[in-house]
């Protein structure tokens, strides 16, 4: 007997997927205007990636937001992921209470971003992490004190990660950012138009005083016997070798578009990465489905919160005739977009990445598929069928991102289940019973 037959379906006026800055803002705005709202997130504690809980304790902005959400009557489902969208405005969700159906009148997709993690020789060695990845692990208690860490890749996230790691007692062996000194100086000049961000940047820089900084240097390889012991960096013909216990490497962020795509939302390239397309009210091409925050293009936490607020107000306007989103939100969002465009120009996805891969570099970590097996394939579908690349646990979230960029292959549509789910939950997808709701609309 499928589990979801036993658990009655839930329903809500608004369902928000993702409890980061965008999702929280959307849920708050709609609920305060009188919309019955459910907010769900796969993590055990809300906050998303930017407001990540530390040792299970919610970050300060989240603690405040959770109190406001409770006050507004938002039902928060933590540790709950969307397995797949079903017809008739139903979602199949899986969480601590098992698989359930969730019926929505409006849906806000606020699935955020993930770190762009690119393959290079040695990247599968233990001790090699994403930059935001290691930062997140450390907030969950991963021991880092006294360990020598090299932070590398590209983008402002590297500074934030480095600051967290140092704060937890790591010894920073250095910070290598592929963006060269000229590009960084130009970016510094654009900061002037954004005083709050200047203060933030200066604070980060101060917390990293004394750490070797190598602008324009890129990761060539991680090496070591069974785990990372040293990292090779290069700038043009110059090379250096850094001894370290860990490498934290990331190349910015990419939008998480899978749920939006599975719902049928249109997507397109934004700042060099696939993003969900929305209008000025955050509406997607699918009736009733909105998208807000990083899944619509990388713009930062402030932009995400503004988009969420616009979406929440618009949902309330449609469902309970609340006033439309205030115009001031759109003006503030335009300013944030200007800044985000500067970040994207300064820290682009590096080109000619294939030149950094060796024959035996594993492009697909889940299935251990080397570059040599992939480079002569005609497209992503053939590569997948011939090599199992993208058929493992991550469902292509890492390697298909890489290959669609490096090989300029069109992406494959996201296919459910969106999250590896127990068979019992998948069986439940055949038996939606929205008539057995346990809660009011």
């Amino acid at each position: 007997m499928p589990e979801a037959d036993k658990a009655p379906a839930l329903r809500a006026g608004l369902v928000v997927v993702g409890a980061g800055p965008a999702g929280i803002a959307a849920a708050l705005a709609a609920a305060r205007d009188g919309v019955d709202t459910v907010l769900l997130d796969g993590a055990p504690v809300a906050g998303g990636q930017v407001w990540r809980a530390r040792q299970g304790v919610a970050a300060e902005p989240v603690a405040q937001a959770l109190a406001r959400l409770a006050q507004a009557g938002v039902r928060v489902l933590a540790g709950t992921r969307v397995v797949m969208p079903l017809p008739d405005r139903l979602l199949l969700i899986d969480g601590p209470e098992g698989a359930r159906h969730l019926l929505w009148a409006r849906l806000v997709v606020a699935t955020g971003a993930r770190e762009r993690l690119l393959p290079f020789p040695g990247w599968t060695l233990p001790g090699v992490f994403g930059a935001g990845g290691l930062q997140a692990l450390v907030k969950g208690g991963w021991p880092i004190a006294g360990r020598r860490v090299l932070v590398a890749g590209s983008g402002p996230l590297l500074l934030a990660a480095a600051a967290t790691l140092r704060g937890e007692g790591a010894h920073l062996a250095g910070l290598a950012d592929e963006a060269g000194p000229t590009a960084q100086a130009r970016f510094g000049a654009t900061l002037v138009a954004h005083p709050a961000k200047t203060v933030q940047a200066l604070r980060l820089a101060a917390s990293l005083a004394g750490v070797p900084w190598w602008p324009g240097w890129r990761v060539v390889a991680a090496e070591g016997d069974g785990r990372v012991e040293r990292v090779l960096l290069a700038r043009g013909d110059r090379k250096r070798t850094i001894a370290c216990d860990a490498l934290a490497a990331g190349w910015g962020l990419v939008p998480q578009v899978e749920l939006g795509q599975a719902l049928g939302c249109a997507s397109g390239a934004r700042h060099g990465a696939e993003a969900l397309l929305v209008d000025a009210w955050q509406k997607t091409a699918v009736p009733g489905v909105f998208a807000a925050g990083e899944c619509t293009g990388i713009g930062g936490a402030r932009a995400a919160a503004l988009q969420g607020e616009i979406a929440g107000h618009q949902v309330a306007a449609e469902l309970v005739s609340a006033p439309p989103p205030p115009r001031a939100l759109s003006r503030a969002l335009a300013r944030e977009r200007h800044f985000a465009a500067g970040v994207a120009r300064t820290f682009p996805m590096p080109d000619r990445w294939h030149q950094r891969l060796r024959d035996d570099t594993l492009v697909c970590r889940c299935e251990d598929v080397p570059w040599s097996a992939l480079r002569d394939q005609p497209d992503l579908r053939s590569a997948k069928l011939a090599t199992r690349c993208g058929m493992g646990h991550c469902q292509g979230r890492l390697c298909h991102d890489t290959l669609s960029t490096v090989m300029a292959w069109p992406r494959l549509p996201a296919r459910p289940p969106l999250t590896p789910a127990p068979l019992s939950s998948l069986l439940a997808s055949d038996h939606p019973h929205p008539s057995t709701e346990e809660t009011k609309a």
Binding site: R54, R114, F129, G132, G133, L137, G140, G141, H393, L398
Partner: protein
């Protein structure tokens, strides 16, 4: 927040601070061991820290392929990295 959680990792008794992820507990118990073995036989450690890459997956209380980085430790948990 500082309350201790007791669990077992590959049969070994481990004590961690409340709020510690299973992924971190594995590293605390056996530094460098990693969470699982790739199809090609390589030991792997978590990469993304946010439940995307799956390199943190372990067996928890007999359920295979649980995401260690997304799961807080709980008293009495049985975690296996060798399953």
């Amino acid at each position: 927040m500082t309350a201790a959680i007791r669990l077992r990792i590959d049969g070994r008794a481990v004590q961690v601070r409340s709020g510690t992820s299973v992924a971190a507990a594995v590293e605390l118990a056996v530094p460098g061991r990693g969470a699982h073995v790739s199809p090609g036989g390589m030991r792997r450690q978590p990469l993304c820290g946010m439940g995307v890459c799956g390199e943190c997956r372990v067996s928890i209380d007999g359920r295979a392929h649980r995401l260690g980085c997304q799961t807080p430790c709980a008293d009495g948990m049985e975690v296996r990295t060798d399953a």
